[in-house]
Amino acid sequence: MATTSITVRETPLVCYLLRRADDALILGHRLSQWCGHAPTMEEEMALANMGLDLLGQARSLYTYAAEVEGQGRTEDDFAYLRGERSYGNLLLVEQPNGDFAQTMARQLFYSAFIDPYWRALMASPDATLSAIAAKAEKESAYHVRHCAEWLIRLGDGTAESHARAQAAVDGLWAFTGELFEVDEGEEGLIADGMVPDPGSLRAVWTATVTGVLAQATLIVPQNGWMQKGGREGRHSEHLGPLLTELQYLQRTFPGASW
């Protein structure tokens, strides 16, 4: 046996589902890393809640991907048996937790995009997609609110929290452009009316984010250069160690049930 990895039978829809699932899994995993380390008990609960929402979304999307792929795979095969170069998540979601401000900024940037995205996806003619989106949208709406409140508190709190919040926003800004990127396969799905065009949500995203930053007395970064590569599996050096931990048991006991 030369590998414990799977080779996915890629179609535009499978690729699409895996990418969105990867986003949710990786971000959910990051949030779960906070467990036991949050700044307050209430926030401990909130971070776990958001993490659980994201894990749940990932599971639905992987499960649907397995169905569409039709190779008898399960959600776990996709999560545990693909290497770093096969993961198609956004660079944004794999960025380390950093301090609490960084986690909140990362979450706001993602949620402010994905919330209207799920809303738009609810109109998909694909009933499964539409149902997944409807459930996810309720969750992401809360994430936006929660993170916005915190970012405002931190930005307009103490000098230290302001500085940390600004540093978080500045540091993560370059990863927000990728939210709106699509490749050929996804373009096809968009053209077919299966899924919304992320580009069409840019104005909403910008309005949400700049609104929150203004209330938080934070400056919107001006550097326009945007990083990309996550969708093609060109990740930062932060994803590999995350997957190493995530996948260890499945790699060590191939085929076992847990």
Binding site: L25, H29, S32, Q33, C35, G36, H37, A38, P39, T40, M41, E42, E43, E44, M45, A48, N49, G51, L52, L55, G56, A58, R59, Y62, E75, D76, A79, Y80, D99, F100, I152, R153, L154, D156, G157, T158, E160, S161, R164, L242, E245, L246, Y248, L249, Q250, F253, A256, S257, W258
Partner: protein
Amino acid sequence: AAQLARFEARVADEERIEPNDFMPAAYRRTLTRQISQHAHSEIIGMQPEGNWITRAPSLRRKAALLAKVQDECGHGLYLYAAAETLGTSREELVEQLLSGKAKYSSIFNYPTLTWADMGAIGWLVDGAAIMNQIPLCRCSYGPYARAMIRVCKEESFHQRQGYEIMLTLARGTAEQKEMAQDALNRWWWPSLMMFGPPDAASSHSDSSMRWKIKRFSNDELRQKFVDATVPQAHFIGLTLPDPDLTFDEAAGHWRYGTIDWEEFKQVIAGNGPCNRDRMATRRKAHEDGAWVREAARAFAEKRAAAKTAEAA
């Protein structure tokens, strides 16, 4: 004195004492200590299981484990709230934990070494906790009793989940079964210690019994736990790590061997395998979060001031 007599009478009548009712200082002290220790245990208890969230072997297990640890935090929250009704603030109670003045359940000073420990903790540790806590649902102090009802319900879900993890492993590959047996071997005795010292050596019990804070002795609860758990182990084909374990047909009880109370004493004294790490992790989380809590406070004050200014 009349107040005291009325209090004792109410307790004897199984009435619930509420926060604004009269209660003896010793009752308040005992309860505050017990409830806050219980709260601290929930919070520290997040660590051993938290250790496996990022390495859980399936998405379903990962989500269940995260939810479970989150529940523990929730229990901590109810319990601190219950303790606060007795007049000590959460900040103060947390400070007692961080300074090492307050204790937490010593079971959480053992490390989680394999995935099977997630099963063993749910099954044995939560199982033992439930045994201890079910009688507390009828505790004379209302807020504690009500918190316990909620906690017990969730714990019993966790206990079943833990047992199911063990069952899955025990029916899995040879290595998985070995993992399950190994976890049982390591967690069995510490679980028995969770009920506290043998009755002969136990303090506090007399007044706690009279005040209906405690309703069964340590040894009684421990025996109930053993009687409930041994058949569960056998059912999934695991062996208890106690060569002296035998079924006493006449009494209908499983008789267990000698517990190593020296180990218990050492763990309580701070010499368990993880005491240092648990406290260090908790303190670090608290310190790392200080700037966030401060920011929230500063922000709230600013907004309050702005509102006052507006109103003026």
